[in-house]
């Protein structure tokens, strides 16, 4: 495979010595080269954006810098000195801090306990009041105000992220790596985060921000590096020297065909695929997770669902599919009321789901691809006391061809697959069924750009085939591109239902944060 090269000019104006510099960094997992001969550097007082699609090697590179992985070849220099980072502790001692995408906080602990645990030293006793004071002082100084006494599982995702960044800063980080920090935030929260990042930059700290959103890169980054398939295609270029199309092509390796812009208007009929009326639902910790939700999804319509992470999306998904008991209100699927919490009944009415977290909610250890897909069609595959496995295999081959997401070999154990390949199995299972209602939670998570595009086409195909689609996503651009209407959740309330062409992303962000549109 030939490696693309970019002949961007490197900005010569900012040449202060790098905090961290890597040369020829290579990391292999078995036969796979996750990063191959990567050069990269970060200087104090800059925000450096690392772009790349899922699986390009961004996270691997950052974990090499943070000492989670050790490179197979190449070297890491910190302040110009070659260092061997055997563990995160080594990296932390050198002033490198990382904020992981799955935040590394213990939900059952308070903010103060979490931060105390992360700070090195500090003696035998856990001095609660002293730590709490320290947190308030540091928060004030750095612009990350948090309540040290709060239990982490009571905090919103945005608040947790603030705690996480403060935690990293308090342990003395000079270089902060942020792994896709914006994917869970509303646009206004992203603005707040960027303001805080700018103030860190002004204090001379260095920030690496991993993202695949170009407008964010443009808003915050001083320099940009682009990874594709483990190779560094551009290292530390000036973002103003390239346009968006060039950046996308560098990330993806080819032009991405646009979605068909013209599509049939949603049918002006009264056939409802899903009707949610006055629904109240409790969350896992007993709190009220959905308050008085009224929502209608017509057959042949895509209803997007937007919201800051943890606003009730999961509970709405589960309520719509009969997975979570209602405290009050009613849910109708295809005009039939579901009178109790019964996923089998919802399936029987033609409701299909694409789960948010396949590993915990859909993947059965030890079962292969065929068995997973057979599970969704057991009643049609029965033979005597058992299951007709040869017919099941034929069915799966036919499905794979029809859906076209190219699953791995059908006798592979699903639990051993990568996230992207698991998601292909989930999508093939869902799109292979003729349904009246499709509830899709973050269907393109973990997929590369091309497969994401195919997934979006399949969602539109279901819509054309007359299914009602409830489409939950954290990506506002994707929501606005695909949805006929968007329901915005805020803190378990339905903040509003908007039509994408009529409002902009900030208006939706306003609703996500609880303001009026």
């Amino acid at each position: 495979m030939s490696v693309a090269t970019l002949d961007f000019s490197i900005d010569e104006t900012k040449q202060s010595p790098a905090i961290i510099e890597v040369r020829g960094l290579t990391k292999r997992f078995g036969d796979l080269v996750a990063t191959g001969g990567v050069d990269f550097d970060v200087r104090p007082g800059e925000v450096h954006s690392l772009l790349g699609e899922n699986g390009a090697g961004k996270s691997t590179l950052m974990k090499l810098l943070y000492g989670v992985y050790q490179p197979d070849a190449g070297e890491i220099l910190v302040d110009g000195v070659s260092q061997k980072l055997n563990s995160p502790a080594d990296a932390r001692a050198l002033g490198i801090g990382m904020v992981f995408q799955d935040l590394r906080l213990i939900p059952a602990f308070t903010v103060a306990e979490n931060i105390a645990l992360s700070l090195p030293g500090g003696g035998f006793r856990y001095r609660r009041q002293a730590i709490e004071r320290q947190i308030l002082d540091a928060g004030e100084e750095l612009g990350f105000l948090v309540d040290p006494k709060a239990l982490v599982h009571h905090l919103s995702i945005g608040e947790r992220q603030r705690v996480e960044i403060l935690k990293v800063l308090m342990s003395g980080a000079r270089l902060v790596i942020l792994d896709e920090p914006t994917s869970v935030l509303a646009p206004q929260e992203v603005d707040g985060l960027f303001t805080a990042i700018r103030s860190l930059r002004a204090k001379g700290l260095a920030v690496v921000i991993i993202t695949h959103k170009l407008h964010e890169t443009r808003a915050i980054a001083d320099r940009v590096s682009i990874l594709r398939a483990g190779r560094m295609l551009a290292s530390g270029i000036d973002p103003t020297s390239v346009d968006d199309r060039e950046l996308v092509n560098a990330m993806v390796g080819r032009e991405v065909p646009p979605l068909p812009a013209e599509r049939a208007a949603p049918p002006d009929n009264k056939v409802l695929a899903l009707r949610v009326a006055g629904v109240h639902v409790r969350g896992d910790s007993g709190n009220t997770a959905l308050h008085d939700i009224h929502l209608e999804v017509k057959a042949g319509e895509i209803m997007g669902v937007a919201g800051v992470a943890g606003s009730g999306q999961r509970e709405l998904y589960e309520a719509a599919l009969g997975l979570r008991p209602l405290n009050s209100g009613t849910i109708h699927i295809a005009a039939v009321e579901m009178d109790r919490c019964d996923p089998g009944a919802a399936l029987g009415l033609g409701a299909v789901g694409i789960p948010e977290d396949p590993i915990s909610d859909a993947v059965v250890p030890g079962l292969d691809v065929t068995e997973h897909l057979a599970l969704a069609n057991l009643s049609s595959l029965r033979k005597g006391l058992g299951i007709d496995w040869s017919r099941a295999r034929e069915m799966v081959v036919a499905l794979d061809t029809r859906v076209g997401l190219r699953m791995v070999a059908h006798d592979r154990t699903v639990a051993d697959l990568s996230g992207g390949n698991v998601q292909r199995v989930m999508l093939t299972r869902a799109f292979g069924v003729d349904c009246t209602l499709l509830v899709a939670a973050y269907p393109s998570r973990g997929l590369d750009v091309a497969t994401t595009r195919r997934t979006q086409e399949l969602l539109l195909a279901q819509r054309s085939a007359g299914a009602g689609v409830l489409f939950i996503s954290e990506d506002l651009d994707e929501l606005m591109e695909l949805s006929d209407q968007i329901a915005v959740l805020h803190n378990g309330h339905l903040a509003g239902v908007v039509t994408p062409g009529e409002v902009d992303r900030y208006a939706i962000g306003q609703l996500m944060l609880g303001g009026a549109a």
Binding site: M98, R104, I106, L117, S118, G123, F124, R125, Y126
Partner: protein
Amino acid sequence: MIAAQTATEVGGQLLIVSVMVGAIRSGTSIFYAALGETISERAGVINVGTEGAMLAGALSAYAVTAETGNPWFGVVGAAVVGGALALLHAYLVIARGANQLANGLVIMFLGLGLTSLFGASYVSREINGFKPIAIPGLSSIPAVGDILFNHDPLTYLSFALGPAVWFLLFRTRWGLLLRGAGERATVLSSYGYSPEATRYIAVGMGGLLAGIGGAQLSTAVALTWFENMTQGRGFIAVALVIFASWHPLWAMGGAYLFGAALALGPELQVRNVGVNQFVLDALPYVMTLVVLIVLAKRSFQRAPEGLAEVFDAPPVS
């Protein structure tokens, strides 16, 4: 044997007082084991082998006391042996990936086998064990004095240990680390700590306390040794930790509740209440189940995350 002694010592007392005295006498060994299991489970390792560690502790204490004449040496021996059995559990579970429940059961069998092999020669030996020490002044308070201030030294030690373990878990940095290992080990690793090392220490401490619990049973309460003498007290301790919501002080209360159930039978018999002995023997177990039924759902919600995974995880073959 246990029954006979309790009866002669407190004969003539009100039933409620006798039962409360017996509750602490019989509950203390369970409390030690439950305290140890609390530490172990807070770090994310369930050790059903507590029964085996108690049994091994009971014999070690008895044997060492018989050989040296000093029950305190016996306690040290019990702690060492109990801790060693628990560390074996820790090694197999942490480093070798053994299923926690199954491996714990094997530890129990190992304890049974070892004590049967090495205990045979002590079955009819007598020892000079711990004697109750009445606290001057306090022990003469009516009822309360007998219930709280006329016990063996290991019981007094346990009064202090409950709060001490609470302090360790909730007011020290090491406690944060230990509870962190039971909640989300990945968080600890990302700070460069070793959750494995923390777990080894916690499980070892758990076994050490279970061993001392066994020592209390053989050298302070029963003053005899016989095969399988713990009779499921270690298993009760494991159940107790759940309904104590992994809290050391609740475990203390729970252990005395069991002690009371254990003590009730003999007390009723002394008073010639006509109840079948075996019906009363079942009482502690029935009571555990009832308490679990009442508390289970709420209790399990407070389980350390890492531990909940053990309970939910499918067995690996």
